[in-house]
C-alpha cells in the first residue's frame, strides 16, 4: 500500500490537537486522514469506513482511549487494526495497561512532525501495511 492510501483515524477531544496531528500527518504524505472528537464517533466511524490506523488520545469522552483500544481488539473484523496512543498520559501503570490491551505504539505529547512520521511509518512497516 502506498503511504498516501493509508487511511488514518485521529481521535482527540481537543480541537487544536486534532488540527495539529492531521496537519502533521498530511505534511508527512498521509493524505487520507479523518478525525473525530469522541470515542462514540470513533466507533461509529469504524463501523462505516475501513481504516488502517487509529491514533487516539487517552482521556476522551464519553469513555477513553483505552476503552476504544479494547473495543477494537475484541471486534470480530477490526481486531487487527493498528492502534497508536498519542497522549500526555505518561503514568507508568496506565502505559502498562495500554500495552497489555494491545496498543501497537505509545507516543507521549508533545509530538513533533518528524517523530509522528517516523512512528507511523515504523508501525505500519512492521505490520506489513506499507
Amino acid at each position: 500500500m502506498k503511504q498516501e492510501d493509508v487511511r488514518i483515524l485521529v481521535v482527540d477531544d481537543v480541537n487544536s490537537m486534532r488540527v495539529q496531528i492531521k496537519d502533521m500527518l498530511r505534511k508527512a504524505g498521509f493524505k487520507n486522514v479523518h478525525s473525530v472528537s469522541t470515542t462514540q464517533e470513533a466507533k461509529r466511524q469504524l463501523e462505516i469506513e475501513k481504516f488502517d490506523l487509529v491514533m487516539s488520545d487517552w482521556r476522551i469522552e464519553p469513555t477513553d482511549g483505552l476503552d476504544l483500544l479494547k473495543y477494537i481488539r475484541i471486534h470480530p473484523e477490526q481486531n487487527k487494526l493498528t492502534f497508536i496512543m498519542v497522549t500526555a498520559e505518561d503514568a507508568k501503570d496506565l502505559v502498562i495497561q495500554a500495552i497489555k490491551a494491545g496498543v501497537d505504539d505509545y507516543v507521549v505529547k508533545p509530538v513533533s512532525p518528524v517523530q509522528i512520521q517516523a512512528k507511523v511509518i515504523e508501525v505500519l512497516t512492521k505490520k506489513g501495511l506499507i
Binding site: 481537543v14 488540527v19 495539529q20 496537519d23 507508568k92 505529547k109 509530538v111
Partner: protein, 144 residues
C-alpha cells in the same frame, strides 16, 4: 501550523473555565462534590497535553501538578485534605489563566514559588504517580 495559536489558546482558556466551575462546586459541597476532582483533573490533563504541544512548558508544568493534586483530591478522606487541595488548585488555576494571557512573558518568581508549593502539597499527599520516559515506553513495548 494549521489554525492560529490564539484560537488554540482560547480553547485552553475554555478548559480553565470548566475547571473553575468544578472547583467552585467542590468548595460549596466538600463531601458530596469530591468526585468532581476527576473533572478538574481531566481538564488539567487536557491543558497539560495541549500546552506541551503548543510550546507552553510553564503552563504544562503547573497543569501537570494540578492534575496530580486533583487525583489526590478524589481520594481525600477528610475535609482538611479537600481544602488543602482546593486551596492549592485555585492558585494553580489563577496562574494558568494569567500565563495563557501573558504567554510570551518570562517565568516569574511567583510562578516558581507556586510550583514549589504545589510540589510540597503533592508530596504531603503521598506524591505523584510514577512517570515513564519515551525510552521506558520503548523498553516496555519491546518486552511485552
Amino acid at each position: 501550523m494549521a489554525g492560529s495559536i490564539e484560537e488554540f489558546v482560547d480553547e485552553l482558556g475554555g478548559f480553565a473555565e470548566t475547571a473553575e466551575r468544578t472547583l467552585s462546586a467542590i468548595e460549596k459541597d466538600q463531601d458530596g462534590a469530591k468526585g468532581m476532582f476527576s473533572v478538574f483533573s481531566d481538564r488539567m490533563f487536557a491543558i497539560k497535553g495541549t500546552a506541551r504541544q503548543l510550546g507552553l512548558p510553564h503552563v504544562a508544568r503547573i497543569a501537570e501538578l494540578a492534575e496530580e493534586i486533583a487525583v489526590k483530591g478524589t481520594h481525600a478522606g477528610t475535609r482538611a485534605v479537600v481544602r488543602k487541595c482546593t486551596g492549592c488548585l485555585w492558585d494553580a488555576l489563577t496562574t494558568i489563566k494569567v500565563l495563557l494571557v501573558n504567554r510570551d512573558k518570562e517565568t516569574t518568581e511567583e510562578q516558581e514559588i507556586l510550583v514549589n508549593r504545589m510540589k510540597k502539597t503533592l508530596d504531603a499527599l503521598g506524591g505523584g504517580r510514577e512517570r515513564v520516559s519515551t525510552d521506558d515506553i520503548a523498553a516496555l513495548l519491546k518486552n511485552r
